[in-house]
Symmetry: C2
Subunit: 300 residues, 2 copies
């Protein structure tokens, strides 16, 4: 745990076709007062300009999978995003002793995930931020995957604390939607306000526990021997992110209209249901489990 | 007007990231009976395989703007889609004396346009098809832009009659949605059934007139002197395709939250509202006018 946050970075366009973060970064570059707080400095960065210019998720690799310590140190990884990761590590890190304390990375999804707060750190400062934002935005969902920061491959992991990924949907790639833009703006404001209050030692009145979801596994779309998908997300499952999936519930429907059900024995929850970006690996959704997340120092 | 239809082509993937048509073509290639009718032959074609492989709308140019007669005859136009257009013209046309009588081209949009039947021909056979489908699918919208077939730049225009473009949304690019897939499948079935009944001289019982919409102009998103957009579609307008826009109604909202209203004097209707594909030209929506479409030989 660290005592105070001195340097914050807000990043957008890590996936080049997720325009909300790109335009928020540009907006704040011309309206810097909105992201300034007197107890820390805030930087703004567009992290994948070439992919953004081409309105593609990535040029060579998914940038938001390139930040584990081994890959950052591997000089043979020279794809465009692998190079961008090394540049961002030099700019914001280096990962083993980072200059930036906290990174807020803005994303969107084609899935109906609403305002999802994705955080991979068990540090009370990070959990507290997620709890704080959810108190202000009760429709938000906590998406919690504790990981070893050095092993983590997200951009947020090159900060001193593994930071916050804001994931909002549904929205198509390559466009803006005011509600998504406005919600993302609001969540970032709350994140900065939280850091300010925490730095100043002001009472935060956070609960000791909140409900959230933890990733368990990715579920592939059915495919044929040539690797082509043969089914799509079932209409009963479409848009039902964070709803329960019970044994026997429909998961997929083939191109010819036959339903494929969930054959597991335990109730699960879906997320990233029908995310366009995951079609490159024929992934249909993620299975999640519902969890209780505990905040150690909620009296702060 | 031509007496009967002998050769039909169903095309998909003209825009490489609109996967619905791609997977319907693949489905019908393995289930050909669904598209067979005994009074004509049906061909299936994936029209832009390279863009489809890269899950992009196009490689070099929008393929569905490359089919006017001058461009097809211009040997200097050698971009990927310009070459594809010439190949498709050789395969399905040639435009001045086509082998294929009727092309049904399947598209999707990120706009909330539902089942839109886009047709550019005033031939009673084509108008009759749109009326027939709308009778079977009352939620469909007729989108009618009569044009000179040789001047028209759509793929559908290289058939003997300027055919039917099926445009379904909202759906993000790069994914499948069962409802969109199923609706498109249904509309194509009705189109084929119509041609079969017409070929056989069976009574169609079509109305003499139906309501539709005609394109009037494209409305750009506000932009700055560097050509970057400074506003997005207003939340009151988002998803309101084919609704009335009255003088003073909100059109856009700036990144800073200021509303920009419609300053025209006539009521209009919106379509292609917030279509991702049109961000490459900073187009926010199309203005349409509501029209009555008349069918000359409705007693057929």
């Amino acid at each position: 745990m660290i005592d105070s946050i001195k340097d914050v970075a807000i990043t957008g366009g890590t996936h080049g076709n997720e325009l909300t973060g790109v335009h928020l970064v540009k907006h704040w570059l011309s309206h810097p007062a909105e992201v300034q707080r007197d107890s820390f400095s805030t930087e703004l960065h567009l992290t994948n300009p070439k992919a953004n210019k081409e309105v593609r998720r990535y040029i060579d690799q998914d940038l938001n999978r390139q930040f584990n310590i081994e890959d950052l140190k591997n000089p043979e990884l020279q794809g465009y995003e692998q190079q961008r990761a090394k540049s961002l590590d030099a700019l914001l890190g280096p990962k083993e002793n980072p200059r930036i304390d906290f990174i807020i990375d803005m994303h969107t999804t084609t899935a109906n995930m609403g305002m999802s707060l994705i955080f991979n750190s068990s540090d009370p400062l990070v959990i507290g931020m997620a709890f704080y934002i959810k108190q202000k935005m009760p429709h938000a969902t906590l998406f919690y995957n504790p990981s070893d920061r050095l092993e983590d491959n997200f951009l947020t992991s090159i900060g001193r604390l593994n930071g916050l990924l804001i994931e909002v949907g549904p929205i198509a790639q390559g466009l803006l939607n005011y509600q998504v833009y406005f919600d993302t703006h609001t969540a970032v404001m709350h994140a900065l306000d939280y850091l300010q209050q925490r730095n100043k030692g002001l009472p935060l009145n956070l609960p000791a526990q909140m409900e959230g979801y933890q990733f368990t596994k990715k579920i592939p779309l059915p495919e044929n021997t040539e690797g082509e998908i043969t089914a799509m997300v079932h209409p009963n499952l479409q848009d039902k992110d964070y709803h329960a999936i019970k044994p026997g519930d429909p998961l997929f429907i083939t191109m010819a209209g036959e339903t494929i059900v969930y054959e597991g024995e335990q109730m699960v929850y879906g997320a990233f249901i029908n995310e366009a970006a995951y079609y490159d690996q024929n992934i249909g959704l993620s299975f999640m489990e519902k969890i209780n997340i505990t905040l150690q120092d909620s009296n702060l």
